[in-house]
């Protein structure tokens, strides 16, 4: 049976190599192409999440400040979407 087990090991190796090749394809080969697609929100999300300092006038008044935003609504559960201005009728 050891011959079959060795062949099985080779088979597993081939399967995992195919995964590794696919991973390289998506993460390296297609990286720029995917990142620049219009429906890809990740670049925008990153831009919005950039920490920014407050804007302060010369006399020390804060005119703009960053506050922590609520976590983005999960796309899976509708319970996470809150509409505080809408009163239930």
């Amino acid at each position: 049976m050891n011959r079959q087990i060795r062949q099985l090991a080779a088979g597993f190796m081939a399967l995992y190599i195919s995964l590794f090749v696919a991973l390289n394809y998506w993460q390296v080969e297609r990286q720029e192409d995917l990142n620049s697609r219009v429906d890809n929100k990740r670049q925008i999300l990153r831009e919005f999440n950039q920490p920014r300092g407050p804007i302060i006038t010369a006399d020390g008044v804060v005119v703009a400040d960053s506050v922590a935003a609520p976590p983005p609504a999960s796309t899976t559960s509708s319970a996470a979407i809150r509409r505080p201005t809408c009163s239930p009728t």
Binding site: I5, R6, L8, S18, Q27, D39, K41, R42, T76
Partner: protein
């Protein structure tokens, strides 16, 4: 004998070194993920580290006491995958991480319990018909009205008993692997001989192949009925691989591949949900906001991660639905990049290698086949879900062993791990790498036997 003792001790200290490395990686990852999301070291860091180190050390001591001749890499590899998965789950969903902590403790308890109960792997072979029945019942359980439920996942694979929900299929595959191994070890020559002549073709006698076909047909039928394509694929592969290794006939592998192609084609023609899966696989961008949303977002995550990843806690894996479960590999690829994702793949590869090495080393057919079966379950399951996430094969929902969120899966995989470690230990004993001293259970029965004999000699009726 001194050399033999040293070998076991060297293996265990090698394991301890690897375990410490796993603790450092997991602890560091947990801290980095918290720093990445909240820019502060979490308040729970101390209890977390204490629990992490305690769990790792307890499992290590359990192996040291109960299976000291076992391969040194199996436990650390599983602990590494579990640790990486846990860090990703805490980062994706805090509430689920709490549940996963509980399940981790339960799984380690089950791991130790399995090592205690199964002292000799060959003992399992005696319970093959019991395990056959148990596997069958577990598979059908989710279809029983009242306790079976779908939890909106589309697949009816859950059982709800009071406050506890679990996926019995995870345990059924272990029971069936043990049954297949035991049955094939007894009848492999009879099946391979092909005593039933049908014209020019020699087929195995239906008497010997029937229980296998029933077990396999049953599991596939139930899985198709429960719409759980991933598990159905897993059972099919497990069955074919074990039959092929046991009979040493390539014919079974070829016949299996043809049968599979036929079954896949028929399933594709008949079932709408299969067609949908295949269409999404072929072109997820046909409907990127609805049907293809999950996989398209997973691929965007992977490409955003690139080679080195966005960093733990800095990416946005929550964009992918089920990021903590079926799609955890995409989250790892996003935040830890190609390097981290490849590390996880290599972890699985090494685990498969260790499992097959056990199968090669042992001379006992049952142990050989069981090691092959258990390794195949783990290796194929990881391949099916990772391949589904990165669009190598159509996506079928199934957990990534040790990494994904989910109690049943973690528990079943730790039991599987304990069985592999037990097999590794018994093969080391049989090869004379360490003295095969009597085990706890055997010492106890010997003591009871001595006591009863003493009583008999003294003239006391036992």
């Amino acid at each position: 004998m001194a050399r033999a003792m040293n070998l076991a001790r060297r293996r265990r200290s090698g394991e301890l070194t690897l375990i410490i490395m796993v603790a450092l990686i997991t602890g560091g990852g947990y801290m980095l993920a918290a720093l990445g999301t909240n820019s502060e070291i979490p308040a729970r860091i101390v209890p977390f580290l204490v629990a992490l180190v305690a769990l790792l050390i307890i499992t290590h001591i359990a192996v040291r006491l109960l299976a000291r001749g076992a391969d040194a890499t199996i436990l650390p590899l599983a602990a590494f995958l579990h640790g990486i998965g846990y860090v990703m789950i805490t980062r994706i969903d805090e509430r689920l991480a709490g549940l996963q902590t509980t399940w981790s403790f339960v799984s380690v308890a089950a791991f130790i319990a399995t090592l205690v109960i199964v002292q000799r792997a060959t003992d399992l072979a005696r319970y093959k018909w019991l395990l056959f029945t148990a596997g069958a019942v577990l598979l059908v359980l989710p279809m029983v009205p009242g306790i079976g439920t779908t939890f909106n996942t589309g697949a009816r694979i859950w059982v709800q008993l009071g406050p506890i929900n679990f996926q019995p299929g995870e345990f059924a595959k272990l029971a069936l692997a043990i049954f297949f191994a035991s049955y094939l070890a007894d009848t492999k020559e009879l099946i391979a001989a092909g005593t039933w002549k049908l014209g020019p073709i020699h087929l195995p006698s239906p008497r010997y192949i029937a229980p296998l076909l029933i077990a396999w047909g049953f599991s596939v039928m139930v899985m198709v009925g429960e719409k759980d394509l991933g598990s159905s694929l897993l059972f099919f592969t497990l069955f074919i691989v074990m039959l092929w290794v046991a009979t040493q006939r390539i014919m079974y592998l070829i016949a299996g591949a043809i049968l599979f192609a036929g079954a896949a084609y028929i399933a594709w023609r008949i079932f709408g949900h299969v067609q949908e899966r295949v269409d999404i696989w072929l072109n997820p961008w046909a409907d990127p906001l609805d049907d293809g949303y999950q996989i398209v977002q997973a691929l965007y995550g992977l490409s955003d991660g690139g080679i080195l990843g966005t960093g733990l806690g800095v990416g946005s894996p929550n964009t992918v639905p089920e990021a903590q479960n079926d799609f955890i590999f995409a989250s790892i690829g996003e935040e830890l990049g190609l390097v981290g994702a490849a590390t996880v793949l290599i972890g699985f590869m090494l685990l498969v290698g260790a499992g097959l090495r056990i199968a090669m080393r042992t001379e006992n057919s049952f142990e050989k086949l069981l090691a092959v079966g258990l390794t195949t379950i783990m290796g194929i399951q990881a391949f099916i879900i990772v391949g589904g996430v990165i669009k190598v094969i159509p996506l079928t929902g199934i957990t990534l062993p040790f990494v994904s969120y989910g109690g049943s899966s973690l528990l079943a995989n730790y039991v599987l791990l304990a069985l592999l470690i037990r097999l590794s230990d018994s093969s080391a004993r049989r090869l004379g790498e360490l003295p095969d001293d009597p085990l706890l259970g055997e010492r106890w029965s010997a003591w009871r036997l001595r006591r009863s004999q003493r009583r008999t000699y003294r003239g006391v009726t036992p």
